[in-house]
């Protein structure tokens, strides 16, 4: 099925990134964030990006590398604690941050990805994180309405992809990737390994290729993990180039 071959290269996918786009990124503390696609995103020079993802990464890991460049206008995330530069940008008014409870954020992205029009929960009710979310009364109880999230582009890190875009993931690098992969108009996958259709066991496919538009081969992580850093002092700063 050649028609279903979605494998391409980094240069080709650059045109999918545009100023002002809403970008959903997979990953959790940088684990499972596609390193090659982050660099590709940085190279395009796009700005005014609206980001949605679990967290702000670290300054030299994951989406953090991009956030530090001050080309992001807003971020929806559950925390930014591991990226002090993101906190500084927020406090300086250069980055608008909407905090969402982590699991609620995952469900908002899932709702977008599966075509539901939002959901109700009591989580966050009465707290600052309720923002101006509508309160919906069902029976005698009031619930927060959580809106679905969709993006223009999703970037995803997979263990294996076949040429149709069927995906498997690697251990806890799965994390937010499966639903991020479903929630944008254009989903781009960076895969550690690309295999022909029919090579993946159909029972083990976590995301069906139906959601994937482009696949690029990964060169692996190109950052040091925080636990690889020799000096705790260094952990809040990018490692020497």
């Amino acid at each position: 099925m050649n028609l279903f071959n979605k494998v391409t290269d980094y240069e080709t996918i650059k045109s999918n990134f545009f100023d002002g786009m809403t970008l959903l990124f997979g990953g959790f503390g940088g684990v499972g964030t596609p390193p090659g696609l982050i660099d590709c995103l940085i190279e395009t020079g796009v700005k005014d990006v609206k980001l949605v993802g679990n967290d702000a990464g670290f300054p030299w890991i994951g989406i953090g590398k991009f956030i530090c460049l001050e080309r992001t206008v807003s971020l929806v995330a559950s925390h930014i604690g591991s990226n002090p530069i993101a906190g500084d940008l927020m406090n300086q008014g250069k980055l608008k941050v909407e905090f969402s409870p982590q699991g609620i954020l995952m469900e908002r992205i899932r709702a977008g990805g599966v075509g539901l029009d939002g959901f109700l929960t009591q989580i966050g009710k009465g707290t600052k994180l309720a923002y101006d979310k509508p309160l919906i009364k069902i029976g005698d109880t009031e619930y927060l309405y959580e809106a679905p999230i969709t993006g223009d582009v999703s970037i995803v890190y997979a263990k294996k992809a076949d040429t149709f875009g069927n995906l498997t993931f690697d251990k806890t690098a799965r994390n937010t990737n499966p639903f991020v992969a479903m929630a944008s108009k254009v989903t781009i996958v960076e895969a550690e390994e690309i295999v022909p259709m029919g090579e993946l066991n159909p029972e083990e496919i976590i995301v069906a290729g139906i959601y994937v538009k482009y696949i690029v081969p990964s060169k692996g992580y190109n950052w040091k993990w925080i636990w690889e850093m020799p000096d705790k002092q260094l952990r809040n700063e990018p490692p020497a180039k």
Partner: protein, 216 residues
């Protein structure tokens, strides 16, 4: 505070019972496994998407096998991987027997504040709201007072609330309190401290458990 953190984690470890599914927050809770009875059958889960976490491996460390803080772990027989939405489904659904979270303030009603110090520290809420909502039991660990002596066990939280009425027990380096409908109950005093010490360092009123004991 180094010793205090160890004291708190050691006492918290005794809350982990055989057969439990447990979630540990970052900070002091992450030290709890160091004090666990190794004969216990316990499954630790993390919000990123793992159930059955084992200890940090000494060799073959894998960046793609980590806890919610991003640090390397291993997986036990019977463990599984899943996406983060599924992880929080487990949490909201009440599948977690025990959640141990760090705290900035806890009120006598069990209100938890642990996600932001406005203008200063902005970590963000992470999964704390869901854990506070869904876990069958929630224990808050924190130093008894701020470094400047201001209380962290308070009548009403002055920091933004994570979740109302969720904390069941507070463990500090000085004492263990149970949060009851009627208010705070002092249940244990850490070794070497007196009831007067606790009263001197606790701003709000509390009742004393009829079973008050010194922490073993």
């Amino acid at each position: 505070m180094g010793d205090a953190r160890q004291t708190i984690a050691k006492r918290a470890a005794r809350e982990v019972k055989n057969g439990m599914i447990v979630n540990l927050g970052i900070g002091i809770p992450s030290l709890v496994p160091d004090f666990l009875d190794v004969s216990l059958d316990v499954f630790f889960m993390a919000e990123n998407g793992i159930l059955g976490m084992g200890p940090t491996p000494s060799t073959n460390v894998d960046g793609n096998l980590s806890n919610a803080a991003g640090y390397p772990v291993s997986i036990l027989p019977g463990g599984s991987y899943f996406d983060s939405a599924t992880a929080f489904g487990m949490i909201r659904r009440g599948c977690i027997d025990l959640s141990i979270l760090g705290a900035l303030q806890v009120s006598e009603q069990g209100d938890l504040a642990n996600w932001i110090v406005p203008g200063k520290r902005v970590p963000g809420v992470g999964g704390a709201m869901e854990l506070a909502y869904g876990a069958k039991n929630l224990i808050a660990l924190m130093s008894h007072c701020e470094k400047d002596g201001r209380p962290k066990i308070v009548k009403e939280c002055t920091l933004p609330i994570t979740t109302y009425h969720c904390v069941k027990k507070i463990i500090t380096e000085m004492a263990v309190f149970i949060i009851h409908n009627d208010g705070l109950i002092l249940d244990e005093i850490m070794p070497g401290l007196s009831l007067a010490d606790i009263k001197n360092h606790t701003e709000i009123d509390f009742t004393i458990s009829p079973h008050l004991k010194t922490t073993a």
